[in-house]
Structure formats: C-alpha cells, structure tokens
Symmetry: C2
C-alpha cells in the first residue's frame, strides 16, 4: 500500500513535470481561428449557403470519421494520406478524406436516391502542409451535388454552372472564367487519335496539366505514356480548341472533327442542349469557355466537367470544379454497379476563398469585425456598475448587442479605448450629473459625434442610429 501511494505520487510529479515542459501548440498542418478570421469565414459561408438555399438545396451532416472500410479503395495512391484512428478495441476508423465518399455512403445507407444537398465541413489529409501554398491537414470543403435520376441530364448540369457564377459574382474576387468540357468528348477524341482505351485516364491526366505546363512538356509525358508522335500531333491540334461555347460547338460539328466517334457525337449533342440552357439562364457569356484541354484529375467523371479559374489572381488559379459522375454512389449500393444514382456537382475551394478574402480585408476593410457588439455602456466615476447593468439590461431586452467592462474602477479613456479597439460603433456614456438629469450621452465613435438623449428615448434613438450604421456598412460590404 505504501508502495502504491509512492508510485502514485511519483506519477503525479512526473505529470506535473511534463506539463511544465511541453510546448503549447496546435498539431502540424492545423490552425486556430481568431474572432476576425471567424467573422470573415462566416460571411463567405453565409453568402454561399444563401445561394445554395436559393436553389432549394438541403444540407446534411455525417460523422467526422467513417469505418476504414468505407474509405478503402476510393482514393487510389492518395489513400496513404488518410488519417487512421488508433485501434483501441472495436471498429477500425478513419477521419473523412473528403465529403464525396461520405455522401455516397449516406445515399446508400438512407436510400436517399434523389437529393440536392450541400455540405460545408472540414476534412483531413496527412499531406505535407504548406502555409505558402495554402495546403493544410485540416481544411474546409464545400460540396454541392444534385443526385438522382434525371431523364434530361443537362438540366442539373446547367444549374451547377449557373450556381457557380451566382456565387463567384457576389464575391469580390475579380475576373474569373468557367472552363468546361465533356469526358465522353475527351474519350472520343483519344479514340480518334488512336490512344488505346486502357490509357485514356493516364493520358487525360497528362492533358490536364496544359494549364500549368507548355505543350512540349505535356507531349514528353504523352510519349512516355506510350503515345506515338503522330498521336501526339493529333491530340495537340485538338486541345488547342477553345473559345465561346456556341461558336466552337458549331465549328466542331460543321467540320465533323468527331464524326467517327459515337460517344463524342453523343457528348456534342449534350453540350448543344447545355448551351441552350445556359442561354436561357442568361449565364454571362464572357464567363464561359468551352476548352478541349480541360480534363480534370479524378477518374470518376462520366459527363460534363468544369473548372473555375481566377484571372490575374497571382497564382491562386483554380477556385472551383466538378462534373457529372453517374457511377460513384452505386459503389455503396448492395446490388453494386447495377444500381445507379446519377449525380452532378461541384466543390468550391473554400480555403482559397478564405485566404483571398482575408488578404483583401487587410488591404481594404469592408467593415467586417470580430466583435458583434454595437453598444458599449461606459460610466464616469466610481462604483457605477449597477447603473451600467441597468442600461445593459434594457438594451439586451431590446435585442441590441451590448457590452460593458467588468470593473468597479474605470476611467473614460480606458472604456473608449476598448470601444475603439473592438470597433464598437456606439458608446452610451453617463456620470452622476447625467443620472440626476435623466439624460444619457451617445457617442457615435467613428464620426466623433456626441449628443444627449432622454433616458426614456435611449432604445428608440439607438435603434435609428444602428439602422443608419448598418446601411452605411451594407454600402461598403461585399
């Protein structure tokens, strides 16, 4: 017993020792977010969420971890980046790697075979983190997908493109272009260029690099991947094709470039329907680029593919992307591939958008601040906390975001400094004199304007001032 006690004591001392020594930090590749960063993130997410809701999308939530089995065999060689949980007895679990596989699993588990949903949540990858490249181990994804049978597939596809413009147009990110292409057109093109079918995907992934690398380098990779120089020349000619969707489509059809491929011909028909819908929806033409070099990295696309890129972004580049994938959710259906849940959707590069907006906010404030407080109740003289509380209580009851400082002894400069530091737009100030005369002083902080009000009119006057303040903020807000 004595020994046990001694051991326990030693254990405790050891713990205390460790606690004193270990470095206080967050795990590699993760970050804390402070109130201002949270406010900017919330603003971006609200704007995006409103766009999704405008189109009638619902949201769902899935656990942050899944059965390891659920994620296995879905990510190819990137599977090594999956975070596993320790085996502490029971199921083997892994942190979610994206929101797509959990969505497919959700569809299968709940037989939700027709759903238009968005999901904004964090995902986890054991990648090499790089602050400069905006690559983290814990980061937000923002997925929007329309799943379910649709005899006219291009209807949801066109809506996805429209929705991307609606979101990007409302964010002050400058010019952007939505490139699109069709996987079956790509496959038909490779067919015509005599690429064997089993090399379609590797060749696609080489072509996909054309936005970052010169043709010569891509051609090198194509040759390595077994393409003859003749094939390369044919591909090289095709992937130069890009331009206004309707114009290019008409040229391709009239010149019969792809007449020899059945699937390319089908793709062109679908693209024709898509262009009609985009016209009807008045998607701005200067935002759209039909680009035969767009291939997208992922294997599972089966129809239209698209990608949004910022123009003059200083290297941010791709900001959203997606496409149609008709076979993915079937993986989790008990009857396997025989059961299809045709789907189309896109992901927004939320962390890139956040970083962009944070940078912008530093350069030119649009009134976003960490604190939600509108009014600071400040007092002159000692022991005024009960009086401050009375005023705070009235304002809280009137649903006006209000604070005071939790101190007995307070001088006015300290309190006004607090208001300024937190960009609180209004102060209500009083001392013995004001209390006696039933008056309160309102200070409009950024206008250096002060005036007295009757105590009984406080709420009404503040409401009017706040309305004017909000209108002013609205005018500079993005």
């Amino acid at each position: 017993k004595e020994l046990k006690k001694k051991r326990e004591k030693e254990e405790k001392e050891k713990e205390a020792d460790t606690a004193g020594k270990f470095e206080v930090k967050v795990p590699k590749g993760t970050r804390d977010f402070d109130p201002l960063e949270m406010a900017i993130r919330t603003r971006v997410i609200d704007l995006i969420t409103n766009a999704f809701k405008r189109h009638g999308a619902v949201t769902i939530e899935t656990p942050v971890f899944e059965l390891k089995e659920t994620l296995m065999g879905k990510y190819g060689e990137d599977s090594k980046l999956i975070y596993d949980l320790a085996d502490q007895g029971g199921e083997l679990l892994s942190l979610r790697y994206d929101l797509t596989v959990p969505f497919a699993r959700y569809i299968a588990l709940h037989r939700a075979t027709s759903i238009k949903r968005y999901h904004i949540a964090r995902v986890y990858r054991r990648d090499m983190p790089s602050e400069a490249k905006g690559r983290f181990r814990e980061f937000y994804q923002c997925d929007f997908d329309i799943a379910g049978p649709s005899p006219s597939p291009m209807l949801p596809d066109a809506e996805c493109l429209l929705l991307m413009t609606e979101i990007l147009d409302r964010l002050p990110i400058g010019d952007y272009i939505l490139k699109f292409n069709h996987r079956k057109l790509l496959d038909g093109m490779l067919e015509i260029c005599n690429v064997p079918m089993e090399r379609f995907r590797p060749v696609c992934s080489a072509i996909d690099k054309l936005d970052k690398e010169p043709w010569e380098k891509v051609q090198e990779e194509l040759v390595q991947k077994g393409c003859s120089l003749e094939t390369c020349a044919m591909i090289g000619k095709f992937v130069l094709l890009k331009g206004d969707p309707r114009t290019l489509l008409t040229e391709i059809v009239s010149k019969g470039y792809f007449d020899k491929s059945v699937q390319a011909t089908q793709a062109l028909k679908e693209l024709d329907v898509l262009c009609t819908y985009l016209d009807v929806l008045e998607v701005p033409k200067n935002r759209l680029l039909f680009d035969l070099s767009l291939a997208r990295g992922l294997d599972y696309y089966t129809g239209i593919i698209y990608e949004g890129v910022l123009v003059n972004s200083g290297g941010i580049g791709s900001i959203c992307g997606g496409g149609r994938y008709d076979d993915l959710a079937g993986m989790f259906m008990s009857s396997g591939k025989t059961q299809q849940v045709p789907s189309v959707g896109f992901s927004l590069g939320l962390e890139r958008l956040f970083a962009f907006m944070e940078q912008r906010e530093k350069e030119r404030s649009s009134g976003i601040r960490g604190s939600p407080t509108l009014v600071l109740v400040a007092s002159l003289g000692k022991n005024m906390e009960t009086q401050r509380l009375k005023i705070c209580s009235r304002l809280w009851k009137a649903d006006i975001s209000t604070e005071h400082m939790y101190q007995h002894k307070l001088d006015l400069p300290k309190q006004l400094g607090f208001a300024e530091h937190n960009q609180i737009p209004f102060s209500v100030i009083f001392g013995e004199d004001e209390l006696k005369s039933g008056k309160l002083r309102i200070k409009v902080m950024d206008e250096h304007r002060e005036f007295d009000v009757d105590e009984k009119d406080l709420v009404d006057v503040l409401r009017k001032e706040i309305e004017a303040y909000k209108a002013k903020m609205q005018a500079i807000a993005w």
Copy 2:
C-alpha cells in the same frame, strides 16, 4: 512483370469483393443527420448564437484534434475515453474530448487573456453509447465563457445566469429552474462539519447525487468516505437548505450558520453581491433557487456553480451548468500556476435540447422543414423545361428560393405531390394556354387557393405572398 500484373488484378478483385460484402453503416455511437434534423438543429443553434452575440461574445475555432500531451492529465480516470489517432509517423494526436481544454490551450497559445467567447462544435468520447440515454460518441457541445481579470467577479457571473435564462426562455422547453451554490460555501460547510480538507472533493461528489438519490443512500456513501455519523447529521441539515436566494441568504447570515468559516463568509458576501446584480438584471425570481446541495461533479470550480434543470421533463433533467474556474487556463501558461486567467462560463446540453426539440416538432409542428424552397415551378404538357427554366431564372435573380423537377415528361399531380412532400408553400403553374395569354397560375399550397397573375407581375405578387407566409410561420414558430 507478368506476376506483378496478376497480383494487382487479384488485389483489385479482392477489393471489389470486400466492397460488395461489407456492411454500409456509420461508426458505433455516431449518426448522420438528415435535412429536417439539420433544420431543427440550425434553428436551435441560431437562437443560442444570437443570445451570445447580443452579449458581445465572439467565436473561435480550434482543430478537431490536439496533441495528445495537451489533453493528458486533464480528465482524471475519464482519460480512457479519449480517442487517439493512429501513430502514422509524426506527432501523437487525440480527438478533442471537450471544448474547455482546447480553450485553455488557445488562451495560452495566443495570450488571449481577456475574451468572451462561445464555441459550438462536436467533441469525441469512447463512451458506451446509448440512444435511449442520449449518449453518443460524437456530440455537440456549446460553451460560453468569460475569461479575464475582473476585479468585480460577480459581474460576469451574474451575466452568465441572465444569459442562461434568456436562452431557455426563448426555447419552448417548459418550466426550468436554475440552481446555484458557491464552492467556497460548500468547502466552508464541510470545514464546519469537520470533514478533513483532502476529502472535500469526494464528499462533494457524494452530495452532488442528492438530486437523484435519497438522503439515506448519500449518507451511506458519506460514511464509506470516512464521515462520522455526527458529521453526516450536520451535512444532512445543511444540504436541506434551499429556497429563494435573497430570503435564504438573509436567514443564513442572520443565524450565523457559517460564521466560523472564513471562506464561507467570503462566499456569502459574493452571493450577496450576485443577488443584487440578479435583481438589477430582473432575472425572474421563480427561475432561481439557492441550493446548498448543489455541488457539481468537476473538480476545477473555485467560486459560484450553477445548473439548470427542466421541471416535468420526463427524465431529461440537467440541461445546462457551469461555474467559476479561476485556475484552469493557468495550466497552459509557461509560468504555470502563478499566472491566472480567472474565468466563468457554462455549457448547454445541446444534444438534449436537440432531442427535446425534435420530439416536440413531431408532436406539434412549428413549421420547421428540411427544404428551404418557397416556390415550385410546375408545367403542363411536354418539353416545357426551357419555359420552366426561364421562370426559375427570374425567381433566382429575385432571390426567391425556387426549384423545378429535372424531367422532360411531367404530369401536374406528380409535381404538386413533390411540392406537398417537401412542404413547398407555393407553386407557379403554366401550360401552353397560359404561355399564349401571358398569364401564370399561382397555387398557395396549404390554403388550396389558386389565382392567375400577369407574367410581368409574378415576382411582386410572389414577394407579397411569401411575406404573408413568413408572418404566418413566425406566429407558430418558437
């Protein structure tokens, strides 16, 4: 090479096999949330968030996992419930167990020694899950804390109690009581009852069971914990003291029950100040109970403690709780315990609230639905999708949440069924005839009211109808 190919092929087949066989499910103790559950959760969270913001609170975000070291030695024997991540090289990590330790770590890392913050996020515990008891392995916590030096500690403390009533009063959860007590009063009481100081915490934890167990059982535990029968009798007398705060406080002070204890006398003075503030803030008296049997389980409290319980809740019981803990954040400060960040706060039992509100919504709808859609655009006759798109496009531009069904061939009953199923309040209906005459038909779904509008007036008329609909929903909403 041949062999390698064969092995790869076998590997793939094996994978396909496994995919076919394994059970599609979520990990034990976790859940998916469908759109309706999400809508109810969002409504509750918005209401709570608004209350926090009204009091000027900011929010922060921390990673879902922390260094294992950060969590070590914080949770006593509950540490065995912590989820560890697998050691895949690099740091040893654990999923967060609560939001309090990450907050203390945040304060230390960012020197945020004065902050009023809320944090609503999921935490992870390898506990035995029980749907019936509402115990899960992944669940939401909702923490509000005021950290920072405050020469008048009872100011933030009173605000916490007010804030809890503001939140609970706006939720249709029925009657509730906020019990409170003071740790130093409890300690003084035990001192007077001759309990040795090192047994204060275990004895407290026995007393804390009085809300669930009869005195006889608690006394048994006290005897086991080394209390004499005389001590038990004294404790038994004290813990019966409960009632209206001001009345009971006056009785205790006037009768001099605790005059022998210095710390109890200090606690009574603080409670006196607290009661004054609660009066000024007009916290409803019928909600407050000064209860000397309230002890709270956690060790780290140093001042006032409180707990909210539902009356007639059918076993839900405690719904929020918290108190003052002045020494916790210091654990992460480099200078150890010498640096204090006095703090007071509370946690809301969010999952209990969610479950309660979900149940209530089943019994009596307050108009919450999963879909945000306000208008379904429906057509009569074939190949009308372009016409539907035109109308959808107008409504999307007017920021009206609108949907149509993605099909060429649609009959009206199917479309109206879709609207009804998703509780979409309005349908816009048209066929060839309407198109020719420039009219559209609006159907107000739940009123079975239909009328025609000129195409050009569509947006204005719908806006007015939607306003009326929202007012109607507001009237039944909680």
